[in-house]
Symmetry: C2
Subunit: 713 residues, 2 copies
């Protein structure tokens, strides 16, 4: 590491000379230039293959009750550094991840206030990360951020895949539009949600996926969001400049910091090949290594659950319909009249355990097992759940024994209803309860408006809470799958017990009116940039009215598309979300879900275009087997898969689960074909996917004798 | 209990006939009349000895987003009940308390909405309590209170002893004025405080002490404040009607309730003798019996503490002056430069332990022992303390051993800085730490603005928090003395581990500029109505500049007045707040503090006038010894004490600690005289008290031979 100490000329007329610092990516394709303008404003710009990606963009902060940190800066010192290492994640798309970047640290001093501000830039081959550091110093201790003013100046009217900026929900369908069209399409894009707070006609969420007219792919997000407010991006659609827009607290303030402090990283992933965006590990690389020493208890898992039947309205979470309101500790459920629809009952859960055991699923999630679901949301209720008291028809001990005898783990469910104080009060007891009864993973939920009232789902207060719950869980050796919590930013590298998040529009919306057919061709470019999603795929019955006559929702996906999701939507936690009885009707297709791996040595994105298609091949961990997934957008398309990722000279059985020729996400979603082939590294497959369709392939290494009767591909 | 079911006449023209219900106190002196007006508004009025005390006053609620509960009611049912029992508090002014009242329950139905509301009235010989009950019902589940609308209509322009209504502080000096003068005196009465939020020019706090021109004493307060917002009183000073004004949450709402629910009791204590107000146990009687089964660990205690030296500025809580800000877990105190003023160091604490042991004090409080005091308030800091990590110069284990060897208990200190989430997160660990190191009591503090930001000290959210901390403490067998927490409302009956509260202007203000000389003649009529106060008396050095040359504050009290406070300010927890070296200078006077009892069989208020004087005699528990205290207001006055409370035929030694003839709170506060007399039940003493003065008497049973040389009184 070399340090460059600037010697400032004693020149009163030119206190802030424009001094530029350049940084190159290891492969020299990306170049970042940092400088300080005439008036002392820090600015940066970024180019890719000598083409501008980010035009000159300002950096800084509006502060509360003190002078802003926007201008009047000079460079006091800079230093550079290069890193080229690898690390091994506990779970992931790759068993080894390369971390290779060049770093520039710029130490600024605001001359009038003598306050110090450092900006750190890390330039990887796949993009840029930068963060602010407030060093320990005389003139800055506690401070309050009114707004972060990080700019991302676009070079033109790019195409964006965006969801409306919102302080309380991330569960919108994506809109594809020109930047200039965002304002006009905002209103229609803000669909109803239980808790939602939008803030600007040009405000969008990250991770934001962009494509320039020249075919450059740009992804904007953040990494290592710890004890800081979540960033949105607000567009100045005249100048085409995005600027950071943090999530405020109940008082409208955006961050309480104490120097020394650092912000999350702001990330810009860039490539002219869309598959590079999907393959990027930049977000993880900008997070700290694991802080959990013994990670042996963290295990990827496929699971089923008592869930879809409630989501569709076939069954209920609540035990009784008698009560207008429930008060824990006062309401007597033993005396309540059961509504006859309560799914989380001992007998029924045993059926799920039997099915899981028979078909090789490691886990069974049970929602609605604990008292309080009669009035669980919409009332700003403080003491909504205690997380340890089951309904009278749910026998915790017996089910735990039964599950263990079948080699299945029950997955705990903690719906907090966003009553966060209540959850924190019960957290320790709830985790101990899990430890006692052998639950190793919990799905947590944050439905509804936040308590403390006035707080938002993605403010510093809440970000701090999700982290608290995660770290406490690690102490108890518990894995977390947090729904409605803040979108991930690669924190799973540091706390690999964060095995899942929802934080986007999941499969449940297919029972709430449906999602766009190409939704799953966008998610890996946006939501998945920060970490895995518990998308809960595997729906085989697309007509929801067959489960609940009052629900006319339709799942906008073919059955083959549902299978492909187990490969395209990488997650160490994969649910088979449909009812066992539906899987029993399609056991041949279900075989893929049973076979597909859950952890990987290697992933190769074969082709991708956001909103249109993604095809990926993954090598199962410690195995020669591969799985391929293709998801397709709104138009039918034929993909070509070259099997050159396979080990040369070896033979494999490829089982292709594909849309039938007449398949269609709306008209004929359950039409699929299953074909077996003999393949090797020279094989090639042309496979058509229907609108909203896709295909899945399992590729299992085989002896020559096993494949001789199969058709060669 | 007799139930009266009303048979409503089928009369369309008169759906809401005015139906009056009358209730009398057991001694028939108080009469309460309840009725429903023509438009269905519930009203009550109260008389004492057939003189009106409360004129017809409305009852009800403004609700959010639904029809108010103010009018349109009819009486569906009423029931009455009489109770006459006694109970034994764990500690108190009396070892047996009489609970004798007549009760009326009125069940109302709002005809338009069919919502039910019950009002319960309990009439004691010393006053009225009433509360609202929202029964379990079809048409009312979750609801939000915009405002409670309970009126207390005064009969005239009474004299009031009041402090400004405020959502965040109770630490004002009292103003004595006519009700009509409140508005004009409000601004001058709102003195600066670290956290304060006033709301109305005629808003005042309870307990509010009133006196009519006819010499009737009226006290307004509340009892059993549980999971509800604290009540203030706002005066309509044209009509002279007080109305409830609840403390709002961060959103401006005043209460989130779920039927079945009940409000705290609203209390009106009435007498033509001021001593009856002081002796009233109505507030405790309206609370639930103890919920702690084994109370053997709850013990009254006298204590000293490492405290006054920081309050006066002689020493510091913080260990170093180096840091602008501290981050727990990051700031390294081992490397910090000590400021040389840190009082909570092992050696110094040992001196306190030695002093406590030598003079028979049970406890030593130590503030400033744990890291974080460098920037503990004023910054809205979230993670301000962890409550378990000592400064490098404070050896927890050694001190605990040392204290135990001297038969002294160390008292824990938890300053939360009002960062309530942080405190709740650490509460369990902090209490376990106390259990481990043998701390049985904790002084907790809530200085500064509340976190969650936007919340107020006395809103439902915070009331709920104080209760949570109290109940958790009971689980850990820990006694609580909460400072800056909400004013007590008799909850110590239910949770007798609440051995103290500050919740008013305590002795510390004598080092912050001083309090009014007659302050302690008001507090027992106001703040102490709800429970004991950790007033921290016993200051012997009134000139604070002798401790800290930069502090010119003066303690507005004579030394004899300080002694009297141990009797007049009843508390199971009494501090000797001054420095040991000051006690060493006045060992003869200090003897009273050493001798005075801390728990009582009986208390007799001999004479009292709010703002002017209080004289009380108390019988030490399980003993024949008595202690008398007199505190005096702004003018010199001679009190006459008849010793007829003593057991007949027995002899006692009375040691009288009184103001010297030339004593004066300002000019000559340390002038006192100590005289010993022989007394029996026929004795009588005329004793002058200086302005801001008083006297204290210890009356110890003695053999005839022991008293023969003493002057007879």
């Amino acid at each position: 590491m070399k340090k460059i100490l600037f010697l400032f000329a004693v020149c009163l007329l030119s206190l802030n000379p424009v001094i530029a610092q350049e940084l190159q990516s290891p492969n020299s394709k990306l170049k970042m230039k940092f400088s300080v303008t005439e008036d002392g404003t820090p600015v940066y710009k970024l180019s890719y293959k000598d083409k501008e990606v980010i035009k000159s963009s300002k950096l800084g902060f509006d502060l509360k009750d003190e002078k802003d940190l926007l201008d009047g800066f000079k460079i006091a010192e800079t230093s550079t550094n290069s890193v080229n290492t690898t690390w091994k994640p506990v779970w992931g798309e790759e068993s080894t991840i390369k971390n290779n970047y060049n770093e520039l640290v710029v130490s600024l001093v605001q001359e009038e206030t003598q306050r110090k501000l450092d900006i750190v830039f890390r330039l990887f081959n796949d993009g840029l990360g930068f963060r602010y550091i407030f060093p320990q110093q005389e003139n800055l201790g506690h401070f309050v951020i009114k707004e972060e003013r990080s700019q991302f100046a676009m070079t033109g009217d790019h195409t964006a895949f965006w969801i409306p900026g919102d302080y309380d929900t991330q569960e919108y369908d994506y809109t594809k539009s020109k930047l200039s069209e965002i304002r006009g399409k905002m209103e229609e894009s803000i669909t109803a949600n239980i808790s939602q707070t939008s803030f600007s006609n040009t405000g969008v969420q990250t991770s934001l996926m962009l494509k320039t007219d020249e075919g450059l792919y740009i992804n904007l997000h953040e990494a290592a969001l710890i004890d800081y407010a979540t960033m949105h991006l607000n567009l100045d659609d005249e100048k085409m400049i995005f600027e950071s827009w943090l999530t405020p607290d109940s008082q409208g303030d955006k961050g309480y910091l104490i120097a020394p402090a650092k912000t999350p990283w702001r990330t810009i992933i860039v490539s002219d090949d869309a598959t590079d965006i999907l393959a990027s590990k930049l977000t993880y690389n900008l997070n700290e290594p694991s802080k959990i020493d013994d990670t042996s208890w963290i295990k990827p898992m496929k699971y089923i659950g008592v869930w879809w039947e409630m989501i569709t309205g076939k069954s209920s979470w609540n035990y009784t319909d008698e009560y207008k309101a429930v008060k824990l500790g006062e309401t007597d459920f033993e005396k309540a009249k059961p509504n006859g629809k309560h799914a989380a009952n001992t007998e029924h859960v045993k059926e799920y355990i039997d099915f899981a055991s028979e078909h090789g699923f490691g886990g069974v999630l049970v929602e609605g097992w604990n008292i309080g679901w009669e009035d669980w949301f919409g009332h700003s209720k403080d003491y909504v759940f205690d997380f340890v008291t089951p309904y009278p028809d749910f026998d915790v001990e017996e089910l735990q024994k039964y599950a263990a005898s079948k080699d299945v783990e029950l997955i705990m469910h903690h719906e907090t209803s966003s009553s966060v104080r209540n959850y924190e009060r019960h957290l320790d007891t709830a985790y101990k309860f899990m430890n006692k009864y052998g639950y190793n993973a919990v799905k947590s939920g944050y439905v509804g408006d936040i308590l403390p009232r006035g707080e938002n789902h993605y403010s510093q207060w809440l970000v701090n809470h999700y982290q608290y719950a995660l770290e406490k869980a690690a102490e108890h050796k518990i894995m977390i799958n947090a729904h409605e919590a803040v979108r991930p930013t690669g924190i799973a590298r540091t706390y690999p017990n964060l095995i899942g998040n929802e934080s986007a529009r999941g499969t449940e919306y297919q029972a709430f009116g449906g999602s766009k057919p190409n939704h799953v061709t966008v998610l890996p470019f946006t939501r998945l940039i920060g970490g895995p999603m518990d998308y809960t795929p595997g729906i085989f019955e697309m007509d929801i009215s067959k489960l609940n006559p009052d629900n006319n929702s339709h799942v906008n996906s073919t059955l083959a598309n549902q299978l492909a999701l187990y490969v395209t939507m990488y997650s160490p936690l994969q649910m088979a979300a449909d009812l066992p009885e539906h899987y029993m009707m399609f056991l041949d297709a279900f075989q893929f879900i049973k076979d597909v791996a859950i952890d990987w040595d290697k992933s190769i994105y074969l082709e991708a275009e956001p909103g249109d298609y993604i095809t990926v091949a993954r090598n199962a961990k410690n195995s020669n087997n591969w799985f391929v997934g293709n998801v397709n957008g709104n138009e039918a398309r034929t993909a070509t898969v070259k099997f050159d990722f396979l080990e040369k000279g070896k033979n494999y059985i490829a089982t292709v689960y594909a849309d039938a020729p007449d398949a269609h996400y709306k008209e004929n979603p359950q039409a699929y074909e299953i074909k077996k082939y003999r393949v090797n590294s020279k094989s090639k497959l042309s496979q058509r996917s229907a609108p909203g369709g896709g295909f899945a392939i399992s590729i299992i290494e085989a002896e020559k004798s096993e494949v001789k009767d199969l058709k060669k591909l």
